[in-house]
Structures are given as structure tokens and as C-alpha cells.
């Protein structure tokens, strides 16, 4: 550790740390490299787990040094359901029960009672994995599976449900494409009077490199909107920002689902290590659902320190060859890279960050890049309305987040309601089926459409005053994009005839249809040479493979690449090979994490 600290101090005093507090960075490094345990000293909660992927951050982030990308064997996994077909073969009974329940519902007496058919369907799905059943009783489309930790009952359940249909799911070299291409066979569970057929895949997610993320954290949302706007007229690509529910734009994570580096780190601590913070809950052991962590495992200060360390990681470099012929080849590659349209998404410079080669926007990458933990729904339009609410009419929301780290998990919807969106919350008619002569049949699919319109309060003030106040709302830049306001949004509270009247602003959000399960944030190409494997699940071992796997919006550029002559193709690869991990200020990862050489053969 002494060696690491000295490296760090060099790094800090060399000015690479972006004026970070060296003490904080030092603490962050310790936390980043610390191997946590279920009873780590200094942690108030239950420590590591109960379920987790690795015991330390560096266990995954180690390719090219501490904070680098990760290998395929460190991939996180999730289970996603594309389709569910449920049949009951006693339709008369099912219909009678359904009518009874609908009667209760019409009379307003159904309360929280779940429709009988849904209950039975949920029970059947839960036999495969109870994790598909959301707390509100709907069937979700995706849930993470952690490779380590968990009670023996959970491990048994996991192996029992996953291994029979995909024996490779926990292989060291597992990438999602293994299933997406090969194993589209539905899993079927059949009882005497019901059958469930599910198209389920195990998806993988590769570790992203963290070098230079401190700079990305400083990219203003307005820049992302600007780039997205510039792409609207393009015939091939249509990048869009990862619009988050709090009005900010995502810049981190494969799905652009975290706006700040701190958010990303905090959620990673929870999702990957099972370290609960004050704001983010830890994943639960499904076989022990009632367990509650008594205290946060990691403090706000610790999160802040870890964020300071990650932000202080140096940015990747360009390793331009000294040989003049090679330099010419690299220059040619750069020219070809732009000419065939790669640089439309892999934007060379963004918000003053040179050689980033990303627009940080989400793009459809085609059907083979599917993963049911989708991108955040595209919030395309917002309107602010003012309503009379009285005092404290809005329920205060919990400060604990349950945001899904790997992406947006949707509730499965009826195939027939595919184009009308899906409902969030208690089970509704969108998950009920149809009764035919011989069976009660339901077909649910993972939705491609997010909710169309959502109305949420954006400000709630309990105090009263005669003065008109102004306040800066979170994510006001985002609001301004649509409303044209100058950044100040008024919340008015007035006292009239001794009666306190409060008005509240509401944000009415309209979402646009996008293929959320196929959308991925353009990964920055800086450091690409030293961050293999590539693509969201590490399915591409080499740059050439990664290029070949561009589909959807990337299809045109990919085809143009392969239409080039061999020398031009090689020139582009040589150009990309100049984007290297930082050579100075990087702390070498512990020896056991040495990088597998993917490209030597």
C-alpha cells in the first residue's frame, strides 16, 4: 500500500488530480483497492454483500492499471426475459375467477388483490426465478445475478434455474452474444393445468475503464443536447441523451444511466460489492427477502473520497508512432475514420475534451446488441404546469434509491398492448390475458416503449410567505431545452385572506419511442488499445471484431469500413491503436489481475 500511496502522491502533486484534495484521493485509493469482507472493520452495516460480483473495485477495474477496464471473466450478469407465454388449460375456472375479480375491481373493492390469473402466472414464473416478480407484483423483464455471495438456498435456486437452459452462463469467457445468437430456445415449465414458456437470456456487462472520467463528469448537459440536435438531420444516426428522471442527462454507464461520477460510483458500490450507502440500497438475497441491512455500509465521505480518486485518474493518451511511415498510416487512418462516418458518433472532441471520441449519446446498435436492462426512456418533451395543491398533499418520497444499476428494468406487457406503452405499478389489464375455448392464454413481452406521459411534482414547499420566490430546480438545463426558460423557475406561494394557498409546479413528461434494449452509449475511444475486450459485454476481443459488430445506427459506417481496401482498414486500426491507457500517474494493478493478451494471436 505504501507503494501505491507514493504513486498517488506523485500523481496528485504532478497536477494530474485536477486540484483534488490529496488526502481525499488517498483515502479513495485505499477504498478502491480494499478487499471488503462481510464484516469489514469501519463499516457500520453488513459489509460486503449479501450478494456481490467482486470484493473490491480493483478486482474488475484493472486492465491497464488501477481504474482500467475489466476482462470478460469479470463481466456482471443479468437475466432478461424477452417473451413470456402463459397458458391455463382450465379456461372455465380461469374465466370465472377473472370475472369475479373484475367485478370487485369495478366495485372498487379489489384493493391490492392481484387478479387470480396473474397470481398463478406469477407463481409459475417464480418457480423459474422469484426475482422476475417485482415488489408491486408485476413481472419484470430483467434482474441481475451476482456471481458471489448469497445464501445456499439462493445459490441452489440460481443454479437450478439457469444452468439447465444455459450451462455456460457462469463461464469465465461468457459474453451475451453466446445466447443472443445461439440459444433462442424458450424455457418451458409445464404443470397439469398450466404452462409457462419464457424466452430468457443471460446477459453480460463488461467493466468500463475509468481513466479520464473526471473530465467527462464536467461535460455540461447542454453540450449533449447540442450534439443530439446536430445529429437529428443525419440520415443514419440519431443519438439521444440518456434522459434521467431527475431531469439530468446520463454520462456514465453503458446505458448512460448515471449523470455524475459520484452517482455512478455509489451505485457501483451497491450493485457490484453489495455496499449500501445512505442513498442506495444494496441488492437483496432473494432467498432471504426480509433481511434488512441495519446501517449503511459506506459513508457519504467514503463515496466522496472514492469519487475524488476516480476523478483524479489521468486521462488516456495518444501514443503516436515515431516511425514516419507509421505516422503517415495513422494520419491516413484518422482521415478514413472520419470519411466513412465513424466520427459522427465517435466525436473527436467534446466540450473541450480532446481525443475523447464519443458523443456520450445513446444509439441503437441493432438487435444482436439486445439486453433487457435497457437505456433510460427518452424524455423528449416536458411542460411545466402550475396546480393548486394545498399543503403537504404530495407524499414525501423516500431518500433511498432503488435505481437499477445495469439499466432500466421494465414490467413485461401484453403483446397486444405493445404499441400503447406499459404500466408501472400494480398489475393491470396489461398483464392479463384472453380466454379462449380451451385455454386462458397470456403473452407478455419486454416492452420497447417507455411510458408515454408521466406527471410528477418537481417542487413542493411547505412554508408560506407573501414574497414570490425563485429557485433553481435540479436539472433546469434539461427543462430549458424544451421550455426556453432562462434557468430560473418560479414556485409561487401566497397568503390570501389568512388562508395559506400553495401552488405547485408539475413536470409533464412525454417520452419518445426508442429501442431502449438496443441503445448503448457511444463508448469513448480514448485508451481503446488497452481496454480490450470491447462492446458492452466484452464480446469483441479485437478492434476489428468490434467494428464488425456495429449494427443499427452503426451499420452504415461498418459497411463502409469493410468496403475499404485492406490498407485503409489497417490504417484505421493503426489510428485506433494510438489511443492508449495513460502511462504516467497510473498505479499498477495487483499482479493477479494481469491482462490476458487478446490480440497477440
Amino acid at each position: 500500500m505504501n507503494r501505491l500511496l507514493s504513486c498517488l502522491l506523485c500523481l496528485a502533486f504532478a497536477g494530474i488530480t485536477n486540484a483534488a484534495n490529496p488526502t481525499q484521493v488517498s483515502l479513495g485509493l485505499q477504498l478502491f483497492t480494499q478487499e471488503f469482507a462481510s464484516s469489514s472493520p469501519g463499516l457500520n452495516g453488513d459489509g460486503l454483500g449479501p450478494v456481490f460480483n467482486e470484493a473490491s473495485c480493483v478486482a474488475c477495474h484493472n486492465v491497464g492499471g488501477v481504474g482500467g477496464s475489466g476482462q470478460v471473466r469479470n463481466n456482471a450478469r443479468s437475466v432478461g426475459m424477452q417473451e413470456l407465454i402463459y397458458n391455463e388449460f382450465e379456461p372455465a375456472l380461469a374465466a370465472a375467477e377473472q370475472r369475479h375479480w373484475q367485478g370487485l375491481q369495478r366495485a372498487g373493492r379489489a384493493g391490492n388483490v392481484i387478479a387470480p390469473s396473474i397470481r398463478r402466472m406469477n407463481d409459475a414464473v417464480a418457480k423459474f426465478s422469484p426475482a422476475f416478480i417485482t415488489p408491486t407484483g408485476t413481472i419484470g423483464s430483467s434482474f441481475p445475478i451476482h456471481r458471489r455471495g448469497g445464501s445456499p438456498a439462493l445459490v441452489a435456486l440460481r443454479d437450478q434455474s439457469l444452468t439447465p437452459f444455459n450451462p455456460h452462463w457462469n463461464d469465465d469467457n461468457y459474453a451475451s452474444c453466446d445466447t443472443v445468437h445461439q440459444e433462442r430456445v424458450p424455457r418451458e415449465i409445464t404443470n397439469n393445468n398450466q404452462s409457462v414458456s419464457m424466452k430468457v437470456h443471460v446477459f453480460a456487462r463488461n467493466t468500463t475503464p475509468l481513466f479520464g472520467t473526471g473530465l467527462i463528469d464536467q461535460v455540461p448537459d447542454s453540450v449533449l443536447w447540442q450534439v443530439a440536435k446536430s445529429q437529428r438531420s443525419d440520415s443514419e444516426i440519431s443519438g439521444r441523451p440518456g434522459t434521467l428522471s431527475d431531469g439530468t442527462l446520463g454520462k456514465f454507464g453503458w446505458r448512460a444511466n448515471f449523470a455524475t461520477l459520484r452517482d455512478f460510483n455509489e451505485n457501483a458500490c451497491s450493485a457490484e460489492l453489495g455496499l449500501q450507502s445512505r442513498r442506495v440500497t444494496q441488492p437483496i438475497d432473494l432467498a432471504n427477502r426480509n433481511y434488512v441491512n441495519p446501517n449503511p455500509d459506506i459513508s457519504d465521505d467514503a463515496i466522496q473520497a472514492m469519487t475524488a480518486f476516480v476523478a483524479a485518474l489521468p486521462r488516456p493518451i495518444r501514443d503516436i508512432p515515431t516511425d514516419s511511415r507509421e505516422r503517415q498510416r495513422v494520419a491516413l487512418g484518422e482521415q478514413r475514420f472520419a470519411a466513412i462516418g465513424c466520427s459522427k458518433c465517435h466525436v473527436p472532441s467534446l466540450a473541450g475534451i480532446q481525443d475523447l471520441y464519443s458523443d456520450l449519446l445513446l444509439h441503437d446498435m441493432g438487435p444482436y446488441a439486445i439486453d433487457m436492462a435497457g437505456a433510460p426512456p427518452y424524455l423528449r418533451n416536458v411542460a411545466i404546469t402550475e396546480q393548486l395543491t394545498g399543503i403537504s398533499t404530495t407524499e414525501s418520497t423516500s431518500s433511498m434509491q432503488t435505481r437499477t444499476y445495469y439499466g432500466h428494468s421494465s414490467s413485461m406487457v401484453s403483446a397486444s398492448s405493445r404499441t400503447t406503452g406499459f404500466q408501472v405499478g400494480t398489475p393491470t389489464s396489461s398483464q392479463t390475458g384472453t380466454v379462449s375455448a380451451n385455454r386462458y392464454a397470456t403473452k407478455l413481452i419486454s416492452p420497447i416503449l417507455p411510458p408515454r406521459t408521466v406527471v410528477t411534482p418537481i417542487s413542493n414547499r411547505a412554508s408560506s410567505t407573501n414574497n414570490t420566490e425563485s429557485e433553481q430546480l435540479a436539472g433546469s438545463e434539461f427543462v430549458n431545452e424544451f421550455t426556453g426558460n432562462s434557468g430560473q423557475i418560479e414556485t409561487k406561494t401566497s397568503n390570501q385572506s389568512n388562508t395559506i394557498v400553495e401552488t405547485q409546479l408539475f413536470l409533464t413528461a412525454e417520452y419518445e419511442q426508442t429501442l431502449v434494449n438496443q441503445e448503448w452509449k457511444t463508448p469513448p475511444l480514448w485508451g481503446v488499445r488497452d481496454s480490450a475486450p470491447y462492446m458492452h459485454d466484452g464480446r469483441a476481443e479485437t478492434i476489428l471484431e468490434a467494428i464488425a459488430m456495429h449494427d443499427g445506427e452503426g451499420r452504415g459506417a461498418r459497411n463502409r469500413f469493410f468496403a475499404l481496401g485492406y490498407e485503409d482498414q489497417q490504417a484505421i486500426i493503426a489510428f485506433l491503436d494510438t489511443f492508449a491507457a495513460p502511462s504516467q500517474g497510473v498505479i499498477e494493478a495487483p499482479k493477479k489481475f494481469t491482462r490476458r493478451d487478446f490480440v497477440s494471436r
Partner: protein, 406 residues
């Protein structure tokens, strides 16, 4: 066919066995500081031959091939890094000749290339489809060294030289390649490695691996069916595209003579026969040339075999054989009688191209978009304008044959 690159020194890796070998070679390296070496050293145990098959026009005697610069750059890079072994390059042009394309040079679609790395006795030690970059060529050289050492050790131990000849039993060399490949290839190929055997023909091996290859490249290069698209051909210019397939296939022919292997291997990679001037091809041209000194001949094209390029792929073999039976109609009977009186030679496209080159004929176009493919060629003399006739032009052919009679 002609060794064109100079000697390149390639060293061995740092495992124990090869270290011993490297020490043995120190003397050689010190004795010769020049980067180029005479070809007479080819048979030296430390020499390697990079045997390159391309789809350049096989009739052009130019030594360079379309990927000459790239290959040379890789060789030079290896030369800078490795010592103790000599690497030569021999190229084999096996592509469609411009003589049969109306003189047009090859321009449509991406070019193809296959490389075999052999020892000084032309025994295959490694292979790849596409151009190996410097790192890959280095890796191939190291693999080759490993196998060469094994062969040398087996020889010095008094064992029969492992020549990779057909045998029901897997050879130690094949076992070694199989073991090595099992740690490299993807799960699609791994179970099939056990089925790879030197006794299997390349065609059978290729057939066994067909599904694995399809799945492999679908995953790694995102191909939809049909796989044989222009993009796939382009991807195969990079050695990594088929590397798992090659590693698996190598089990079946490691140690065999490259001259015996390359034509069949090429057929299975390109999906078409490579063009080459074998002895029989040359003999055919000589015989026809001599005949043409005295009287004209009729060439009947055998298009049942696919050669490089898709222009001839629509020709149905069954359809052609039915026509060649010439049974039934009166016209066919007349044609049969006419053919009996003429000098008719059946030839494939390769033989035709070689003949055309030998007699110095002008380029011909065997097929253009508006007409059917040529079936008959009537040549009155070496210098006469050839008459090209498609299927269905039997009456014209009969007339021409009668005009050939002295």
C-alpha cells in the same frame, strides 16, 4: 512460385526447449550479420517459408502480389525483433486471369489471400487466411518454432519423422497442435478438435467445421446468412477472422507438404478452385499449340468445376452433363457426327487460360451480361480470331466445324 523476399531472422520463444535451440543457433546468427541471406539456406532447420496464395491473375509472371507491401511490412517487423531463423516468402498467384475477362484486371470485390508458414522442407507448421500483421506473424513464427523443435527432437531420438502422412492414428505433431488449439479456439471448435485427424481429407475436415465456422463468425463479425458476402471476404483479409478455424484445421495437415495441401485448402476457403498452371495444364496447352500449327481445333469448355469469381457459379453441373450426352434430337445427332470429324478437346478454364497465354491470343470475354456463357470455342489457327459459341448455337458450330476441314 518464386521466393522473393530475403531471409528474415526469427528467434524462438523463451520456453526451456526453445531456449536450448536458440542457444544452438547463436553461432549462426553471429556468423552472419546481414539481414538478407541466400536462398540456398532454405533447407536449414532454422529457416521458414511463408507460402502465400493470392487471387492475383495466375498468368502474370510478376512476382509481387496485391498484398505484397503489407506482407513485407510484417516480415520486416519480425526481422527487426527476432533472430536466429530465416524467413522467406514464396508467392503463388491463383486468381482468375484477365485473359478470360476481356483483358479487364481484377477490380470487383475484395482480394483474397492465404498464408502457410512452413519449415525449410516445405512442411506446414502454421497457416492463416488473410494477411498476418507483424504481431500475428511473430506469433505464427513462434508456434512454428515450437513444432519444428518437436520434429527435430523426434528425429534425433531416432523416431520416424513425423511427416503428417495419412494415418488412422493421430500423429504426435497433430496432438501437439490440438492441445495448443484447445486453449485458443472458441467453444464452437473445441469439441471438434478431437475429430480433426491427419487421415481426414481437408474437404471432410472443412465440412465438419462448417457449422462451427458459421456460428463463430456470426458471433464475432455479426454476419447474417448467407455468410459468403463481400463483407466476409473483406474480413478474411485479416488473419484474425478465421484464426480459430485455421487453428482447428491445422491439426489435419500439420507437417504435410504445402504443395500437396494448398490447392485443396484454397478450394475450401474460397469456395472455388484456385487457378494454377500444373503440369497437366501446361501439357494440354503444348499439345493444343502443336495441333494448331496444322489445323484448327474445337474447345469444349468444362464448366462443372468452379473457379474463382462468381461469374461461373451459376452453371449447373447436372445441366451441362445432360447436354454433353447429346442424345435425342436430330440436331444433337448432327452435332455428334460433326464433332467426330473435328479435333475436339475438352478443357477447363485453367487449361484454356494457359493455352491462351501460350499461343498469345487476345483476351476474350467468356460471359457478358447480355449473353449466355461460352460453351464452345473454335480456333482455326494460332493467329486466327477465335469464335465463341454459347450453348444452343449447335448449328453454327456444325457449320464452323465443316469449315475447319482441310
Amino acid at each position: 512460385m518464386v521466393p522473393i523476399a530475403g531471409a528474415v531472422r526469427v528467434s524462438v520463444r523463451s520456453n526451456v526447449i526453445r531456449l536450448v535451440v536458440a542457444i544452438c543457433f547463436v553461432g549462426v546468427a553471429q556468423a552472419d550479420d546481414e539481414s538478407q541471406r541466400p536462398l540456398s539456406n532454405a533447407a536449414d532447420s532454422s529457416s521458414r517459408l511463408l507460402f502465400v496464395v493470392t487471387d492475383d491473375d495466375f498468368l502474370v509472371s510478376d512476382q509481387s502480389v496485391w498484398c505484397q507491401d503489407s506482407l513485407q511490412a510484417s516480415i520486416n517487423a519480425v526481422r527487426d525483433q527476432r533472430r536466429a531463423t530465416y524467413l522467406m516468402m514464396e508467392t503463388r498467384r491463383a486468381g482468375e486471369p484477365s485473359l478470360l475477362r476481356g483483358g479487364r484486371t481484377f477490380t470487383s470485390g475484395p482480394h483474397r489471400v492465404i498464408c502457410f508458414l512452413c519449415d525449410g522442407e516445405r512442411r506446414i507448421l502454421s497457416c492463416c487466411v488473410g494477411i498476418p500483421n507483424s504481431r500475428q506473424l511473430l506469433s505464427f513464427s513462434e508456434d512454428a518454432d515450437e513444432l519444428a523443435v518437436s520434429m527435430a527432437l523426434a528425429g534425433s531420438a531416432g523416431l520416424e519423422k513425423d511427416t503428417g502422412q495419412d494415418t488412422e492414428q493421430a500423429t504426435p505433431l497433430a496432438d501437439m497442435v490440438r492441445d495448443r488449439a484447445s486453449n485458443r479456439v472458441t467453444r464452437h471448435y473445441r469439441p471438434l478438435l478431437l475429430k480433426m485427424n491427419p487421415s481426414l481429407s481437408i474437404e471432410k475436415s472443412s465440412h465438419l467445421l462448417a457449422e462451427a465456422l458459421t456460428n463463430d463468425i456470426k458471433e464475432r463479425f455479426l454476419f447474417d446468412s448467407p455468410i459468403e458476402s463481400e463483407r466476409w471476404v473483406s474480413a478474411q483479409q485479416h488473419a484474425e477472422a478465421r484464426r480459430h478455424w485455421c487453428d482447428t484445421m491445422l491439426v489435419g495437415f500439420v507437417g504435410k507438404q504445402v504443395d500437396d495441401v494448398w490447392p485443396e485448402f484454397t478450394v475450401n476457403v474460397w469456395g472455388a478452385l484456385p487457378w494454377h498452371g500444373s503440369e497437366t495444364v501446361q501439357q494440354f496447352a503444348t499439345e493444343c499449340s502443336e495441333t494448331l500449327q496444322q489445323h484448327g481445333i474445337v474447345l469444349e469448355l468444362d464448366l462443372t468445376k468452379r473457379y474463382v469469381q462468381a461469374e461461373f457459379t451459376n452453371v449447373s453441373a447436372s445441366g451441362l452433363s445432360a447436354t454433353s450426352e447429346r442424345s435425342g434430337t436430330r440436331r444433337e445427332a448432327a452435332l455428334a457426327r460433326a464433332l467426330e470429324t473435328a479435333q475436339v478437346r475438352t478443357c477447363n478454364l485453367c487449361e484454356l487460360a494457359w493455352l491462351w497465354k501460350s499461343v498469345g491470343q487476345s483476351p476474350i470475354q467468356l460471359r457478358n451480361p447480355k449473353t449466355r456463357i461460352v460453351r464452345w470455342i473454335v480456333l482455326k489457327s494460332v493467329s486466327a480470331e477465335p469464335v465463341l459459341l454459347p450453348d444452343g448455337a449447335e448449328n453454327r458450330l456444325i457449320d464452323l466445324i465443316s469449315s475447319l476441314r482441310p
